[in-house]
Structure formats: structure tokens, C-alpha cells
């Protein structure tokens, strides 16, 4: 095993010694969280500090553990769909799609064309609002005291208005079903989506002018929290964090699930794997999402949105197991479902991207200051609903 794969031996940490071999001061142990404004939820980090430098860091979570996987074993397949909204509560549409995709693979259900286009539109809108929100939080962690975050939220509300007018709820949409989507979108909605997409490019320009070359942001984020390429692959990092380290692995291009092979978009890659690269990868991904949205809104065909033979109640897939995954805004979101022929799943497992991206939190933070640790955590983009399930 190479040094890149094993965690650093950080259980016994000793303070630095001076020329006489005497310890230079004591180490300070801090528990950051769970009630903390910068930890993006109920998340705790046990940090050992030498002055201001991080010497050991262990993340502790489980404060939001609701044992969703066991709840799903007791209720039917359809009833689990509203619970998937609440996993990564910012991106409920993509969570729903991942689950619907998995069950459609399990039972072999076909999906109509129009439903596929609607799913892509919803997923890319979700990606837009998630990345916008994240940049807002990320800059706030650096001390921007909320102004960019409020601008981000103002734009996000336009997308959430779109979600509410089609599915009835801003965040917990419960919109995808096995074999299509729940309700159809009408022309007014499509026109409004077109308007939002066109205005978003202007907002992104303003946002970038505001942030991208800002000296404070550059000084605080360049070469901070670096993950080398082989560590990123071995630690199963996915999503924008992986692409910022230079690995070209985007499930929309690799698995080509849904109808992504019809759209023309690029995958942005970073070079250094630091926080600034992750920020830039997310900004560029937002622009690619706008491209996909414009193509999808232009090409969406007419037709049904749900297979007429699909059953809502009494859905019993044949015994078997399947692993379905999509490229969510935070990384690879996968569902592993084992069915034994009964109306409830036998085993239902969620592969959460935020949880696994936290594996290398310690590696990234060692040697940096405690204030950098906060920003590094912000760049990982965790949502505790997904980490703890």
C-alpha cells in the first residue's frame, strides 16, 4: 500500500520539540460543532491544534441519522420516493431521478421521450441552483458576511418557483415516478424556464465579475486543501471535487444514462485540485448546464409523460438486485436495491457522495490553519441529510 492510500498516523500526536527536546507548548483540542454556523449542518470536527495549525482532524457525524434505509424496508417502493427528497435536501429532483432510474432498471420499465427530456431539464436546473447556493456558502465561510449568498439565493428562488409551479413544493418535490414523471409541464412553464435560463447567464457574469478574480478569494483558496489525483481516485471521490483534481470522470459522459448522449456539453477539469479549482469547476459546470438546458428546452417533444400501463399500487418487481447511479450535483449518487418479489425492498442502500467525499477531509486540512479548515469543509459541499441519511 502506498503512502497515498493510507490515512496518516495521526492518533498519537505530539507537539513540536524545540532545540533542547522540550515540547513547544501544548496542543489544543477543539470540537467544532455540531452547533456551528459554518459546518453546513449538524456536523462535528474534532480538531487538534498546534497554535493555529491543524495537527489532527477527525470528522464526527451521525447527528441527523434517521435510518432511512430501514424505513424503506418497511414501506412500499412508491412510498420511499418522498423520503429520497429529504436525503440531499437541496437537490430533491436528482435524488428522485436516481431512485426512479434504479427501480426502472430493476423492473425493466420503459420511459417515454418527453419524460426523459423533462428529467434532464429538472436535473440541470437542480445543478444550477445547487452550485449557486454552494458558491454563496463557500464565500460566506471565507467571511463575506452573506452578501454573495443573498444574491445567490435570490436567483435560486426563481428556479424554486419553477419547481413549485410544476410539482407543488419548492424543495421536497416528489416528482419522478417509476416509468416517467408525475405531472406534465405546460407551455407557460416552458416559456418561464426559457426566461430563467436566459437571465441566468447575465447573473453568472455579474457573480463572476464579483468573485472570480477577487484578491481575497484568490489568496485564501489557491493551493489550499490540495488532493493529488491518485488519492482522489483511491478515496472514491466523485463529482466536482474529483474533476478539480484533473480526473475526467463524469457519469453523464461515462454511463450516458437517460438521454445525455444527445446533448453537446463539455466537462470542465481542474489542474491543481485545490479549493479555487473546485470553485472554478463549479462555475464552468453551471455554464455547461445552461447550454444543456437551452438544447433540451428547444428539442422537447410532445407526448405522454408516464407509461399508461405503469402501476402505482401493488408494484412488485421480480427478485433480483441492481445498482443504479447518476451524476448528482455533489457527486455520484447511487442506489443499490435488492428485491425479493414482495412489495417492499429487501435491502435498500444509498451511496451518498457527500459521505464518501469526507474520507479525505483530514488529508486536506493537515498543515493548514484552522480558518482554512472551515473553507475546505465548505468546498467539499456536504449536506448532512445525505451524509447521515
Amino acid at each position: 500500500m502506498s503512502a497515498a492510500t493510507m490515512p496518516p498516523p495521526s492518533f498519537q500526536v505530539k507537539p513540536k520539540l524545540d532545540a533542547q527536546g522540550e515540547p513547544l507548548g501544548e496542543l489544543l483540542e477543539i470540537s467544532m460543532g455540531p452547533h456551528h454556523p459554518s459546518t453546513h449542518g449538524v456536523f462535528r470536527m474534532d480538531v487538534v491544534l498546534d497554535g493555529e495549525e491543524v495537527v489532527k482532524l477527525k470528522p464526527v457525524f451521525g447527528y441527523l441519522h434517521r435510518n432511512h434505509e430501514k424505513i424503506a424496508e418497511g414501506i412500499s417502493y412508491l412510498s420511499t420516493m418522498p423520503y429520497t427528497d429529504r436525503l440531499d435536501y437541496f437537490c430533491s429532483m436528482t435524488n428522485n431521478w436516481a431512485y426512479a432510474l434504479t427501480i426502472e432498471k430493476l423492473a425493466g420499465l420503459p420511459v417515454p421521450e418527453r419524460a426523459e427530456y423533462i428529467r434532464v431539464i429538472m436535473a440541470e436546473l437542480t445543478r444550477l441552483q445547487n452550485h449557486t447556493c454552494l458558491i454563496g456558502f463557500f464565500v460566506q465561510d471565507m467571511g463575506a458576511l452573506g452578501t454573495p449568498m443573498m444574491y445567490a439565493f435570490r436567483e435560486r428562488e426563481k428556479i424554486l418557483d419553477l419547481f413549485e409551479s410544476v410539482s407543488g413544493a419548492r424543495m421536497m418535490c416528489n416528482y419522478m415516478r417509476f416509468g416517467g414523471v408525475r405531472v406534465d409541464v405546460n407551455d407557460t412553464w416552458l416559456a418561464q424556464a426559457h426566461k430563467v435560463t436566459n437571465e441566468y447567464a447575465k447573473f453568472l457574469d455579474e457573480f463572476e465579475e464579483f468573485l472570480t478574480a477577487n484578491e481575497i478569494l484568490l489568496a485564501r483558496s489557491q493551493f489550499v486543501g490540495v488532493i493529488p489525483k491518485d488519492l482522489a481516485i483511491s478515496a472514491a471521490i466523485t463529482g466536482p471535487m474529483l474533476r478539480a483534481s484533473g480526473v475526467n470522470y463524469d457519469l453523464r459522459k461515462v454511463d450516458k444514462y437517460g438521454i445525455y448522449s444527445r446533448f453537446d456539453f463539455k466537462v470542465p477539469l481542474g489542474e491543481h485540485g485545490d479549493i479555487y479549482d473546485r470553485y472554478m469547476v463549479r462555475v464552468l459546470e453551471m455554464r455547461e448546464s445552461l447550454k444543456i438546458l437551452q438544447q433540451a428546452l428547444r428539442d422537447i417533444p410532445a407526448g405522454p409523460v408516464m407509461d399508461p400501463k405503469a402501476k402505482l399500487r401493488g408494484f412488485r418487481p421480480k427478485p433480483g438486485e441492481v445498482y443504479g447511479r447518476i451524476e448528482g450535483p455533489k457527486g455520484e449518487l447511487g442506489f443499490y436495491v435488492i428485491s425479493d418479489g414482495s412489495p417492499n425492498p429487501y435491502r435498500y442502500r444509498i451511496r451518498p457522495p457527500s459521505f464518501i467525499n469526507l474520507t479525505v477531509l483530514e488529508d486536506m486540512c493537515l498543515g493548514h490553519k484552522i480558518s482554512d479548515a472551515v473553507v475546505i469543509l465548505g468546498s467539499v459541499d456536504i449536506v448532512l441529510g445525505e451524509v447521515d441519511r
Binding site: L78, R154, G168, N174, R182, E206, F210, L211, L312
Partner: protein, 228 residues
């Protein structure tokens, strides 16, 4: 010059700040509760039971308990009645003696609306439901949940129209079936009476006709299972 980009950023902030005095786009805060945003058409908050006309006799719910079984957090509690009352089609149906929804548990997923076969449970849009009592206050009973069809049409006009269309179609089908059954019975009675009134001509060429009426009279019984 060091700090140039920071000054540019401040220019953007200034544009937004002073712009909010001038353009509506930049001033997006709504002063709740003095102002309220208009709600979207499809907003879903908590369920309600729809009735046509009278809250007791016109309640569409027939206590089939499908919504109770499908509800993910199991927040619905139904007790069926012991007697039956006539529904909108005129057929006697059970009704719920107790229909409780615990809205502190309900997660507004509207799966109960999707699976209801009788168009009776729909989504309400009221969300200002704060109560001082955490347990009894959030337990809505049948009386609190029952809302008239007119209220439903005001909230969701398209959905109410579709619901009404489905119910009228069902009613028309049931009436057509009832009418066809009544006509068939009258025809069978008439033919049986005619056969009974003419006993003698049975031995003559009329047997072809006399036996024919026996066939329609016999149709209610064996042939349908054989055809299945």
C-alpha cells in the same frame, strides 16, 4: 494595482444596493406578514376531504383505507362506519366514522391524493396552522378536514374540473348500466308473459319463436361464465 478586483466587486454590490431603490428586480424581499406572495396553482400543504353539498351526507370518502395504507409516515387513521349511506351514484357505501390526520407527521407528499380512487382526498393550500397545543391541536378530525367542492374549485380550478368530469362520467356510466339492466328485465318479463299467454301454438311452427324467448330469459345465468 492590488485590490483592483475588490473595488470592482464593491461596484457590483453598490449597483445592487442602489439599484434596489430604482428597479423592482433587485428589491426582492416581501414584507411578510403584511404582504404575501400569491401562491402557485399547484401548491400542496396538507390534505382535505371534499364533499358535494352536505358535509356529512355528501362526503365523497368511502373509507376504503387505501390512503391509510399508502401514506409513507402513516399519519392517517380511519375507522369505518357500521352502516352505509348512499353516495353520489345512489349506491349504498360505507363512510368513515373517524378520519384523523396528524399534520405534525404529514409530509405533504400527496401520495394519498394520487392513489385515491374516489376523488375524495385532495391537497389544501393553507399553511398558517399554528396551534398552542402540540398534540391535540395538530390532530385534524373529519370535521376540520371536510371542505366543499366549491372551495376546492376556487383553489385548484383545473383539478376540480377534471375531478368533476371523472365523477360525472362515472355517474353517467352507472346510470346507463342501470337503465340497460331495467330495460333487459322489462323485455324478458314481456316475453315471458307472451309465452305464458299463448300455450297452444307451442306445437305448431311457432316453436322456433317460442323457444327463442327462452334463450334470452336464460342469458343471465350460464353463458356469461362460459364466455369468460
Amino acid at each position: 494595482m492590488l485590490g483592483e478586483q475588490i473595488i470592482k466587486g464593491m461596484a457590483v454590490t453598490a449597483k445592487n444596493f442602489f439599484g434596489s431603490y430604482v428597479s423592482k428586480d433587485r428589491l426582492t424581499t416581501v414584507q411578510y406578514p403584511e404582504e404575501r406572495l400569491p401562491q402557485k396553482g399547484n401548491t400542496r400543504q396538507f390534505p382535505m376531504l371534499v364533499f358535494d353539498g352536505d358535509p356529512e351526507k355528501g362526503l365523497r370518502c368511502v373509507a376504503c383505507t387505501i390512503c391509510e395504507k399508502e401514506c409513507p409516515p402513516q399519519c392517517i387513521f380511519i375507522v369505518k362506519s357500521k352502516d352505509k349511506k348512499p353516495d353520489y351514484k345512489g349506491q349504498p357505501q360505507l363512510y368513515p366514522a373517524v378520519f384523523d390526520i396528524d399534520v405534525s407527521v404529514c409530509m405533504s407528499c400527496s401520495i394519498c391524493v394520487e392513489v385515491c380512487p374516489f376523488e375524495s382526498i385532495k391537497m389544501n393550500t393553507e399553511f398558517e396552522l399554528s396551534e398552542p397545543d402540540r398534540f391535540e391541536g395538530f390532530l385534524l378530525h373529519k370535521e376540520d378536514l371536510a371542505k366543499s367542492n366549491e372551495y376546492y374549485s376556487k383553489l385548484h380550478p383545473d383539478d376540480a374540473r377534471d375531478s368533476d368530469a371523472v365523477l360525472t362520467a362515472e355517474k353517467a356510466k352507472a346510470e346507463a348500466k342501470a337503465k340497460a339492466a331495467v330495460e333487459a328485465k322489462l323485455a324478458a318479463d314481456a316475453k315471458a308473459k307472451a309465452a305464458a299467454a299463448n300455450p297452444a301454438p307451442v306445437a305448431t311452427p311457432i316453436p322456433a319463436k317460442a323457444t327463442a324467448p327462452a334463450a334470452p330469459a336464460a342469458t343471465p345465468n350460464p353463458p356469461p361464465p362460459a364466455a369468460k
